[in-house]
Amino acid sequence: MYRSAMYDKPLLNEIAHIKKDKIKSIDTFPNALQRKEKVNIPDLDETQIVRHFYRLSQMNYGIDSGIYPLGSCTMKYNPKICEEIAGWDDFANTHPYQDVSTVQGNLEIMLELERMLCEITGMDYFSLQPAAGAQGEFLGMLITRAYHELNKDNERNEVILPDTAHGTNPASVTMAGYKLIEIPSTKDGTVDLEMLGKALSEKTACFMLTNPNTLGIFESEIIEISKMVHKAGALLYYDGANINAIMGKARPGDMGFDIVHLNLHKTFATPHGGGGPGSGPIGVKIKLEKLLPIPRIARKDGKYLFDYNVPQSIGKIKGFYGNFSVLLKAYIYILMMGRDGLKEASEIAVLNSNYMKEKILKSEKYDMPYKQLRKHEFVLSCEKLKQEKGITAKDVAKRLLDYGLHPPTIYFPLIVKEALMVEPTETESKEDLDEYIDVLIKIANEDPELVKNAPINTPVKRVDEVGATKNPVLTWKMI
């Protein structure tokens, strides 16, 4: 039976002796700014700090701990070699403004990575600047805006999204100042062409789509969708969160997408770091290249350089050139995988997903609304369990934790009731998939009270999230 490590977990300030000492003032320092008392932060010895965080790490679940099938998050194994190389002095200790002749290696990697991502997606140019997928989306919207402004097409103030879209999509749309038009999906779970046709107009700036969508269904009408969108004078945007399903099989560029973002911390195996850093490069078709952020990376006479001379560029969306350490790890991953490896990754990611789906559905404990063939992920519904035994998707998720397994994404996409969104990825073995399937079925047969009171084997029991929002305690001073 699984048991998580569990410690009494004092906070740093409860371990440390904090003294409110006076500061020895500096004569030459402006008096109005001189600090009087030392900063009130813990002062610990290295041994204490290491042990504190080591213990905390033992109360945390990562992809190295086990399967992590969060839908749309592509939690695949993060190769250790990438971490090691990204830590090398020659990369980690370079300054973004040092003379370009002394960072030729960095620029070579960035330009090569741009080229690789172009090949994988079928786009013409890439920018590596966005720090995350959501920032890539936001940049995509800024480019959309700049494109229409350039064409003096200033009436376009709407962006259309299907109701299955990731939450970042609508947020990025409004942040860029666009009005959001959401269209419902068909009973197959795909884009409703009739609804799309009705929504498209001379006001449409862009249609944002994930393909395969968040149900894991490939939008087979994509060529028609692309025609309709372009006929209306709008751009077609690809949310690349799900591209792990189609590498080497199909490319968004060939489907007619004008802008694509990728999440390197998903498909390209760089770690999520408990929340970040990530990286969300965007690729565009040639007509949008001149709008990409500065600097562009170029090669001239065998030398790499930064090109700031891009008059129509939208400028910058992040400091410097993007999350270089993440870019480097993705570059190493793609080098190792190569053409066949990436294709194999997508094939097995889709196989693993369909294998799990079939076996789970056979148990008849969970339903799966919408079309049956799925790609890298599938979305189950716990509605039947809820009706029959009062067990919700959240209960199932929490009970999975008791078996030492990370739950799927829950309650998303919003069009599936009591949703469990499962994305196993290609890096899980059949044995691990089988175990997960068995546990999911087992939970459906367990005493509902046990499931509703889960988890019990974790460092804490079920956490009161509502309380954390009602009475926010956000620092140790507020306790």
Partner: protein, 449 residues
């Protein structure tokens, strides 16, 4: 195949679910857009990959091969080895955003501690657990100001980095917020108070200043500035360098409503400019307008202390188009480095670190000024960066320094036409007297030619 354990058994797995061929799984992709292959090379073994990367790495010069004195908001700092050891714990770095709190107590607690330490450092009530970087923090802060008071101008000093100006412009494009720049005083390098006073009015959503500013100069008229901002009923946003806070007042002591900054220097390497760490803290009254993830302390079902993400109703995965920001992935691991590093420094260590940076800054400026042909541009007291005006073309000087494996200061003239032949030098605690001597003797040599 690498990292794909089921490669060898795919046929039997296919058979188990009633399929014959892997392509059956892709039958819903229209023929017209199917491809056979990606036009990339075949994959390399780990051994060959490492060899190739060694060759590429040789084309770079790290700080250890190229003694660097370049300013511009990012500089090398010392990182004790244990920090890397902590952030290399795979339970931390291979975890996702802590949606499942019961399996993420370790990271959640660490982020709660990070928020607590940032709150102490800035003197603010609350902090989030990171944004992308200090640059985008400014964009988010401006948007937050107008969300709070619905006013339509945001005021910045002319002398902030060009990255910040550009990002701010892009972040506010969708908001009808107008950005106004206040010039700096050519003599002191500080913000022009008269111009500031003239421009701040009832329409001002927020006023941003940085301490020290982009030229390395401390804005010490903070009480006057604060009064101007408060009198107009505007929101005061202060950009900080955390390394300076061991000796400077916390921004809350001179009236900050929102404190932001770049936190990379706290235990994170330069990484060619990324990763980075966006610090974002504010007063409690503005909490619900804050962007980004916030970790809260709560209880579990048996009343034990527990942590989870709090106030998620501000965020995109719940609030969607009405979220306070679109941010999802942040810089959590860099925040983890920062909290472990800061708890090692403690209040004493931070004071020492601040002083070392300040003193090295004074020492280097003085020694450069002692060479003929170099003069400090501004009279304002500076921290660990400062502007030097050269008699000669600084670009040429930098090229000559480079031949001696020294990286000179950042050229400012293209960005600031008033600052002809000016460069921005930067120095930190990692530079010792020998490093300084190396630069000074090289400068003497190259400027005599």
């Amino acid at each position: 195949m690498k990292f794909i354990p089921n490669s060898n058994i795919k046929n039997s797995m296919l058979k188990e679910i009633g399929l014959n061929n892997i392509n059956d799984l892709f039958s819903d992709i229209p023929q017209k857009i199917r491809i056979k292959n990606i036009e990339l090379d075949n994959g390399l073994s780990q051994q060959d990959t490492e060899k190739k990367l060694r060759e590429i790495a040789c084309k770079n010069k790290s700080y250890h091969q190229l003694t660097s004195f370049i300013g511009g908001g990012i500089k090398p700092h010392y990182i004790p080895s244990f920090v890397k050891s902590i952030i290399s714990r795979a339970e931390f770095y291979t975890a996702y955003t802590p949606y499942q709190s019961e399996a993420s107590q370790g990271f959640l607690q660490a982020m709660f501690e990070y928020q607590s330490i940032i709150a102490e450092l800035t003197g603010m009530d609350v902090a989030n657990c990171s944004l992308y970087d200090g640059v985008t923090s400014l964009g988010e802060a401006a948007l937050m100001c107008t969300r709070i008071n619905r006013k339509k101008t945001f005021i910045i000093p002319e002398n902030i980095s060009s990255d910040k100006k550009s990002v701010l412009k892009n972040y506010t494009k969708g908001s009808e917020l107008e950005i106004k720049e206040i010039p700096y005083d050519l003599k002191t390098g500080k913000i022009d108070l008269n111009q500031l006073k003239k421009n701040v009015d009832g329409n001002t959503a927020g006023v941003y200043i940085e301490n020290p500013n982009f030229f390395g100069v401390f804005e010490d008229d903070v009480d006057t500035i604060s009064k101007i901002v408060k009198d107009a009923g505007s929101i005061f946003v202060i950009g900080i360098d955390p390394i300076s806070l061991g000796i400077t007042k916390s921004p809350s002591e001179y009236g900050a409503d929102i404190a932001i900054g770049e936190g990379r220097a706290l235990g994170n390497p330069m990484d060619f400019g990324g990763s980075s760490l966006g610090i974002f803290a504010c007063k409690k009254e503005f909490l619900r307008q804050m962007p980004g993830r916030i970790i809260g302390l709560t209880k579990d079902s048996e009343s034990n202390r527990a942590f989870c993400m709090a106030l998620q109703t501000r965020e995109q995965h719940i609030r969607r188009s009405r979220a306070t920001s679109n941010i999802c992935t942040n810089e959590g691991l860099c925040a983890l480095a920062a909290v472990s590093y800061l708890s090692w420094l403690g209040g004493n260590g931070l004071e020492k670190l601040s002083k070392a940076n300040f003193e090295n800054g004074q020492k280097l400026a003085k020694q450069i000024e002692s060479i003929k042909g170099f003069k400090k541009m501004f009279t304002g007291v500076h921290f660990n960066e400062f502007v030097i005006k050269c008699d000669e073309d600084p670009d040429k000087i930098n090229k000559k320094l480079l031949q001696k494996n020294i990286q000179g200061g950042l050229l400012l003239e293209s960005e600031y036409p008033d600052l002809k032949n000016c460069v921005l030098f930067g120095i930190t605690e990692i530079h010792n007297d020998a490093d300084i001597e190396k630069l000074i003797s090289a400068l003497k040599e190259v400027s005599n030619v």
